[in-house]
C-alpha cells in the first residue's frame, strides 16, 4: 500500500506544481543582474524532490517487502522440510528442500524472473537505485536491497540446500538456514 501512497503523493506534487506555474510574478531583476528563479518554482521543485525521494524510499520498501515475503515462504518450506525429514519422508523432504532452495535463490536475486523484468525495465530507463553502490561494486546493477556480497552468500546457500534435497540431514539444514538468516536478517531492517 505504501507504493500507492507514494505514487499518489508524487502525482499530487506534480499537479500542484503545474497549477503553480500559472502567471508567475516577476522576480526582482535589473540591468546586469542574473534573473532569479521565481520562489514558487523553487517551492514546487522542492515539493517534487520530496516526491521523488519518497518514491525512491517506496521502491526500497517494496523490494524489502518482496524479500520478506520470500523469506516467510522459505520459513514455511523449511518447516515442511524439517517435518518430512523427521518423518523419514524422502519425497516430501526433497520437494520442500527444493522449494526452500528456490526461495533462497529468489532472495539472492531480489525477486523472481518477473521482478527481474521490472528491474530490467528500470535500468533500460536509466534508473539505478544504488548508482553509487554499483560504481563501488557493492550492488549488482538495479539491485535495491541485496548487496553483491549478500547475493553471493545466498546463492551458495541455495545451491547447498538444493544439493541436500536428495540426501537431507536435519542438522546440515539447520546450519545452512542459520547462514541464510544471518544474511537476510540485516537486509530486512530498514536502512533509515
Amino acid at each position: 500500500m505504501r507504493v500507492h501512497a507514494g505514487v499518489v503523493f508524487a502525482h499530487g506534487v506534480v499537479l500542484a506544481g503545474l497549477v503553480g506555474l500559472g502567471p508567475v510574478p516577476a522576480a526582482a531583476e535589473g540591468p546586469g543582474m542574473a534573473p532569479s528563479t521565481p520562489a514558487e518554482m523553487v517551492a514546487t521543485y522542492s515539493s517534487l524532490a520530496d516526491g521523488i525521494l519518497a518514491l525512491k524510499r517506496t521502491e526500497e520498501d517494496l523490494c524489502r517487502s518482496i524479500l520478506a515475503a520470500t523469506n516467510a515462504h522459505a520459513q514455511v518450506e523449511l518447516g515442511r522440510a524439517q517435518k518430512a525429514i523427521a518423518a523419514a519422508d524422502a519425497k516430501g523432504a526433497q520437494a520442500a528442500l527444493e522449494g526452500l532452495a528456490a526461495d533462497v535463490g529468489q532472495m539472492a536475486t531480489e525477486g523472481d524472473n518477473a521482478v527481474a523484468a521490472v528491474r530490467k525495465k528500470l535500468l533500460d530507463g536509466g534508473h539505478h537505485h544504488n548508482a553509487a553502490g554499483e560504481a563501488q561494486g557493492i550492488f549488482d546493477e538495479g539491485f535495491v536491497v541485496v548487496t553483491r556480497a549478500a547475493k553471493a552468500k545466498l546463492l551458495e546457500s541455495s545451491r547447498g540446500i538444493g544439493q541436500m534435497a536428495r540426501a537431507p540431514k536435519a542438522d546440515a539444514l539447520e546450519a545452512e538456514w542459520k547462514k541464510v538468516q544471518a544474511v537476510v536478517g540485516p537486509l530486512l531492517k530498514p536502512a533509515r
Binding site: 527444493e98 532452495a101 528456490a102 533462497v104 535463490g105 529468489q106 539472492a108 536475486t109 523472481d112 524472473n113 518477473a114 527481474a116 523484468a117 530490467k120 535500468l123 533500460d124 549488482d140 553483491r148 547475493k151 553471493a152 546463492l155 541455495s158 545451491r159 540446500i161 538444493g162 544439493q163 534435497a165 536428495r166
Partner: protein, 573 residues
Amino acid sequence: MTASHRERAAAPARLALGLAVLVSTYRAAGASSGAPPAPPFRFVDVSAKAGLTRIVLSGRPDKDHLLDSSGTGIAFLDYDKDGRLDVYVVNGWRLEGSRVVERGRNALYRGLPDGTFRDVTDEARVGGEGEWGSGVAVADYDGDGWPDIFVTNFGKNVLYRNLGNGRFENVAARVGLESPGWNTGAAFFDADGDGDLDLYVASYISCSLQDVLDAQRTLMWRGLETVAVGPFGLKGAPDHFFRNEGGRFVDATVEAGMQDKALGFGFGVRAADFDGDGRIDLYVANDSDPNYLYRNEGKGVFKEIGTWAGAALDENGAAQASMGIAVGDVDGDGVLDLFTTNFSEDFSTLYHGVGNGLFEDVSKASGVGPATYRPLSWGTAFADLDNDGDLDLVVANGHIYPQIDRHPELIGTLAQKNLLLENRSRPGAPAFRDATEEAGPGFQESWSSRGLAVGDFDNDGRVDVLVSHLDAPPSLLRNESPDGGAWLTVVCEGKHGEANPIGTTVTVRAGGRVQSRDIAAGDSFLSTNDPRPHFGLGAYTTVDEVLVRWPDGTRSVRRGVPARQFLRVRYGS
C-alpha cells in the same frame, strides 16, 4: 609436429595452470591402459573447394542494429538418407542505410561421394521464403522417417517438411509454427513423453523491421566509438513452447511452466536429460540475463531451477551475456556438463554437472575461463576431435562492433580466431588446454563467426567443424589430424525408420571407459550437429558394449563391436 614435440610444447601451459602433476598422472594412467598419446590437431578450411560458397548476408557494414550482427545458424543433416552429411546454411539480408538491398537465400548443399557439395536449394525448395534467417533445428517432427528442417527467422518461422523425394514444403503456417518475431534458438524434444517431438523456440528482442531499418548507432563504446544499442535498452521478447498435438503445434508455454517472465534475451537452446531421470530437460542461454534450466517434472510440465541448480549465473552470481551452448560429459564421470559461450572480456562458462541436475561453475579451475576471456563467443560444441576418448571443445568467435577495428589494441577486432580447447580432464576434474595455435591453418583464420556445428562430413571417422560467419561463406574445417585413435560412429534407426531419433542416448564401454552421447535437434548457437553419435576410442580397437537407449526407454545392445566403423542399430533389434 610429433606427439612428443606437442607434449613439450604443451608443458608450459600446463604448468601455468598448476595442473602439471594431475595431467601427467592422468596421461600416465592413460598410457598404461593402452591409450596412445593424443595426436596433434590439424584442421584445413576446404569450404571453397567443397562448394560451400554462398555468402551469409548480415545487414549493414557498420552493424547499426543488433540484427545486423547476430548472425545465423548452420546445420549438418542427412536429408536424403544416403549416409553422407548435407549442409544447411541460414541466411540474412543485406541493408544499405535503411534500405533493403538483398534478401539472402538459405542454402542446402547435398554431400557428394567425393567430399564436395552441390547446391540443391532450388530443387529442394528450401531457400527461406524471403525471411531474415536466424537459426536451424533438424528433426523428423512428423515421424515419417525423413528429417525436416525448422528455420527460425526475424519474421515468420519456416518448417520445411521433407517429402522424401529431395523436395520440401513449408508447412509452418499449417502446423502453427510461424510465430512472427525475432526467433532465435530452437530445439525439438519430446517434452511430455508421448512419443512425438515438441518444440521450444527462444526469442531475442521485441522490435519491428522498421526499428531495424531506422536504427542509429548511439551507444558510446569506451568514449571512442558509437556502436549499436542493446540488448540493454531494448525490450526482450518472450520464448515459446509448442506442444505437438498430432502434427499440429499448440502454444503451451504457460501450461508447461515455461513462461519467460524475465523476457530474457534468448539465444541458444539445448534439450538434454540433465538430471538423468529419463525425462528431457531444457537449457536456454540468455544474453545478459540469467540462463534458464527447465527441469522436466513429467507430463509436459517444467520447473525453472537455474538459479539454485547453479546453472543460471556465473560463480560470482552475475548473469552473463550467453549465446551458445555445448552439452557433454567432459570428465567422464557419467554426468552431463554444460558450457555456455559469452561476451568478450568475460569468460565462457563451464558448468560441471555434480549429479541430480545440479552444477558448479569450474571455468577458472578447468582452464576454460582464461582461454575464452578475450573473444566474443557464439557457436560451440563438444566433440572428440583427436579420437582419444574424451570431448574436446570448439568455440566460434567474432565481435559485434566493426568500429573496434580502429582500436585493435584494446580488445582485438571484429574478426577473431576460433578456439580449439583440448580435453585434459580426469573424472571429477574438468581441465582444458588451449590448442588453437597447433590446430592447423583452419584455426588460424579470423572471421566474425557465429553458428557452429560438428560432424563427420567425409565419413573418415574424424569429426569436422562447420562454422558460419558474418558477410562471408561458411568455413568447413576438415579434420586432417594425423593418426588419430580408433573410433566408432553409431547410426540409429528409429521405430518408424527415422534416422537418429531425437532423445536417443548411446553409451559405449571400451577398455573400462564409459562414454555417452545424446542425439539432439538444436544445439550450439542456433545450429544443429551431425546426429550420429561419434566416439573416440584411443587405442581400443574393440568396443565391449554399445547400448542404445531409445526415446521410449527400450534398449538395444551390441557387444564386441569392432572399432573404425559406422555401426547401424535398428530399433527393436
